[in-house]
């Protein structure tokens, strides 16, 4: 299986062109303050700054055109290394690279390129605006990739859907001693319950009704306990099943403190049956039952905040998560698994729906990220002991329009509707922030 690698990420919207990263790089790599010698180059003008930096390509052209074998991609770190003893200074690599990622350092007479400072890039901490990040999520993919995949190959999701990622990662992490419940929704639609009498998983899986998922799973867990077998009872349910008709059994199981991990994949509607609204569909969104026409302009009610309702059950663990923040999601999964051994653990994952939300298939993770960056979605976790706290606080959120314009289901919104949504975002953020402050102060706990 291929390896994932750490990478330096650049957010142009946060860069003001100050050049501190270039000074840090020049100092680290050349011992001078000469920014022309920096391996990272901020380019552009008029407040629009861009980046010239080695992308450590998977299919590096600089390596391909090097006649001396002086450049090579390191299989472990992913970094394209330069071997001075082999380099003949011919500069052909600079013709091969379309990204200006390897260039002549005139002072040394050799080419120079970013080597990520062996995994602790000097430029990143030097950036005062958070425009540079060193993304280390790769280790998750590599680690998880080595564990057994407990889903059948070839799940039938829509193109660009992140739910397959979520399903495979979650089950790999939870492990083989699991009984899985997948009520009607996209997850069984993608193949968890299998075909032709064979399951789509390598663990026992069942297909409860929308209404009784948590109740059935609770019974199964108790029976296993009774016969002395340690299993994780896991549900992967949609928002419709969890927040609408399935809510009474979910609420009941949470109230009784049943030992299970209940994961909701929230794509804000009944997407697999033709995109009908659910109580998690946000205000203003188009669905097939909240159409856009002369008299109606999308959904007229606000979404129910299911994870906060779960907090009010004082579950052993409640968290929100996003596939745009996998490290965060993973940490929460670990804590939820632990909590499910003694009580009810609830993880609510936001899952942009390429088909129902109407955005290009390659933008799923980007849409998920924008939801967080605008505070439309907030990432937090709660335990009765520690209260609620943000795991990825966004102090300076982007305007919600940055999120809304990323997809078609909000295209029809008028000014007043956008204002309503922005107001709700602020109101929600304040509400959760107050809970968080109280959590911090120990009032809630």
């Amino acid at each position: 299986m291929g390896r994932a690698f750490n990478t330096i990420a650049f957010d142009a919207s946060k860069c003001d062109g100050c050049g501190d990263c270039m000074i840090a790089c020049a100092q680290a790599k050349t011992g001078t303050d000469d920014v022309a010698r920096s391996r990272i180059q901020i380019v552009g003008r008029d407040q629009a700054f861009e980046l010239a930096l080695c992308r450590q390509c998977a299919d590096p052209k600089c390596v391909t055109v090097c006649p001396a074998g002086a450049l090579a991609k390191d299989g472990a770190s992913g970094v394209i290394g330069w071997d001075e003893s082999k380099c003949v200074d011919c500069l052909l690599c600079t013709i091969g690279c379309a990204y200006a990622g390897i260039a002549l350092d005139e002072a040394s007479g050799h080419v120079a390129k970013c080597d990520t400072c062996d995994g602790s890039p000097a430029c990143v901490p030097a950036c005062p605006h958070g425009a540079l990040r060193y993304v280390t999520t790769a280790h998750i993919y590599n680690e998880v990739g080595d564990w057994e995949d407990l889903f059948a190959p070839g799940l039938a999701g829509c193109q660009g859907c992140n739910t397959e990622l979520l399903m495979r990662h979650t089950l790999r992490r939870v492990g083989p001693d699991t009984v899985l419940a997948t009520p009607p929704g996209c997850v069984p639609g993608m193949g968890s319950v299998g075909y032709n009498g064979a399951t789509g998983t390598k663990v026992p899986v069942f297909h409860p009704l929308l209404t009784n998922t948590a109740a059935m799973l609770a019974g199964i867990k108790r029976q296993y306990k009774r016969v002395g077998r340690e299993i994780t009872a896991l549900a992967i349910a949609g928002d419709g099943g969890a927040s609408d008709v399935g809510f009474q059994s979910l609420s009941g199981a949470a109230e009784r403190g049943e030992q299970m991990l209940f994961m909701v994949v929230d794509n804000e509607g009944y997407m697999n049956t033709g995109m009908q609204r659910s109580s998690c569909t946000p205000y203003g969104a188009w669905t097939s039952t909240t159409p856009v026409g002369e008299s109606q302009r999308g959904k007229t009610q606000d979404a129910k905040n299911l994870p906060l309702i779960m907090v009010n059950h004082r579950c052993a663990y409640v968290a929100t998560a996003s596939t745009a923040f996998m490290e965060d999601l993973y940490a929460k999964l670990d804590r939820a698994i632990e909590a499910s051994k003694s009580g009810f653990a609830y993880v609510h994952v936001y899952s942009p729906c390429t088909t129902g939300w109407r955005f290009p298939t390659q933008l799923n993770i980007e849409v998920a990220r924008k939801a967080v960056e605008t505070n439309f979605v907030m990432l937090w976790e709660y335990t009765p002991d520690t209260g609620l706290h943000f795991t990825h606080p966004v102090d300076d959120p982007l305007p919600v329009t940055e999120y809304l314009k990323a997809m078609g289901r909000f295209r029809h919104l008028d000014e007043a509707q956008i204002e309503h949504i922005q107001r709700k975002v602020v109101e929600n953020a304040r509400f959760v922030a107050r809970l968080a402050e109280q959590g911090e102060a120990g009032v809630v706990a």
Binding site: V43, A48, E50, V65, P67, G69, K86, L92, G96, L104
Partner: protein
């Protein structure tokens, strides 16, 4: 008869890229590489540095045995292709064996052209294309007192510099009026010439050798104007061309090189060609051209490999763009695109004799970049090549790009394709 799914003749840039491309899509199909060379793969481009001693010969190999083992490639050195039956899909090798194939890639590169000068067969001379050539020249260079290099292309110039540095008195004889023609204009060529003459070399452009004779020390050259030159080391670097004798009777169409379409396929359905031996569409016009440079050999090899493996990601060849970099006496020259000014287009030239910095930018009538050339002025050749291949209208940026190709090129890159 032995059979392989993919047969690749040649073991240099085009061949290596094809292997990678095939394995990207077909993990199983058998691959056999037959090559005339005795060594592991290396680049002809590195050879001047082997001659100068900068590159240790055992350090230049681009792949090791482990690479072939990992990719399950049968690598056969000393196994030149000598004949091809394209109807029966059978290749004949120098050792007499016949090898059946489903698909064949011809990546046999080029060989030095030996000009038909009377007497040339009677004298000893060097060429520079293979590692063995380079080792011979490296051995001979320190003993040379009076060296003559025929041809002032990049190969000849590289070798001439080596010989100058080895202490010989060097004369470069070039038939055309300009050295490194095709890549640099008169000003840039003049700068290169000056660097050589400053280091004691003699350059005789517009000169033709009419006779060669063997002498005690080596050879004597007679030029068209009647003058004579004595040499104890003679290097012939008057260009390259593919040696396509193995195509005789095969039905594979060829002109100067093997004619290929935009997927590097030849006139025979199961035969592809890539690199210096291929003649493919040029970027600036529909004619098929010889673009014998390393980056193009790699690009063509990649395309051929994808086409052979039927990789659906295959995209048509963009057309060959001349690209080169040239390092001489501590200076560097970069040339991207076509030197000629297209009709209705314009050139901008900036030359500071003091600093030795020189830039020339060529645009067509629609404001699109067609060439960027620099001496001692660094810019990102890969970015310029993209600006050309993308045919971007740069009318609004022309002045700024010319004034600062490095920064403005990067800015355009970031904005357009980052």
């Amino acid at each position: 008869m032995e059979h392989t799914r993919y047969l690749i003749a040649g073991s240099s840039h085009a061949a290596l890229e094809a292997i990678t491309a095939i394995r990207m899509h077909d993990a199983e199909g058998t691959i056999t590489v037959v090559t005339r060379d005795a060594h592991l793969p290396y680049s002809p481009t590195v050879l001047p540095y082997v001659v100068s001693g900068k590159s240790a010969p055992e350090q230049i190999f681009l792949r090791d045995d482990d690479f072939f083992a990992r990719n399950r490639v049968a690598y056969r050195p000393n196994a030149a292709l000598v004949g091809l039956d394209a109807a029966a899909n059978v290749a004949r090798l120098a050792d007499g064996t016949a090898l059946g194939f489903d698909k064949l890639l011809l990546a046999t590169g080029a060989t030095p052209v030996i000009p038909p000068i009377p007497g040339i067969d009677a004298v000893d001379y060097h060429v520079l294309r293979t590692l063995d050539d380079a080792l011979r020249l490296r051995e001979a260079a320190p003993r040379a007192r009076r060296a003559v290099v025929l041809g002032a292309g990049l190969v000849g110039m590289h070798a001439a510099e080596n010989l100058v540095k080895a202490g010989a008195s060097v004369t470069i004889v070039e038939m055309s009026e300009r050295l490194t023609s095709g890549y640099f204009d008169a000003i840039a060529a003049g700068m290169i010439e000056r660097a050589f003459t400053d280091h004691g070399a003699t350059i005789r452009t517009g000169s033709r050798v009419v006779r060669l004779e063997r002498t005690e020390a080596g050879s004597r050259l007679t030029l068209a104007d009647g003058s004579e030159l004595d040499a104890d080391l003679l290097l012939v670097a008057t260009g390259v061309r593919p040696d396509l004798a193995y195509l005789a009777g095969s039905g594979v169409d060829h002109d100067k090189g093997i004619l290929v379409d935009d997927a590097m396929r030849t006139s025979r359905a199961d035969v592809w060609a890539a690199g210096d031996c291929a003649q493919a569409r040029g970027f600036f016009g529909d004619d098929k051209i010889m673009n014998a440079i390393l980056p193009d050999a790699a690009a063509q090899g990649r395309i051929a490999g994808m086409a052979m493996a039927e990789d659906p990601g295959l995209r048509d060849y963009a057309g060959g763009v001349p690209l080169n970099t040239y390092h001489f006496f501590g200076r560097h020259a970069i040339s991207v695109g076509r030197a000629a000014v297209p009709e209705g287009g314009e050139e901008r030239v900036r030359h500071d004799p003091q600093s030795g910095r020189y830039v020339r930018a060529v645009f067509d009538g629609d404001g699109r970049l067609t060439g960027m050339f620099g001496v001692n002025e660094f810019f990102d050749g890969g970015v310029m090549a993209q600006l050309i291949v993308r045919r971007m209208d740069l009318s609004a940026e022309r002045e700024r790009l010319f004034a600062n190709p490095l920064a403005v090129g990067r800015e355009l890159m970031s904005r357009t394709w980052r």
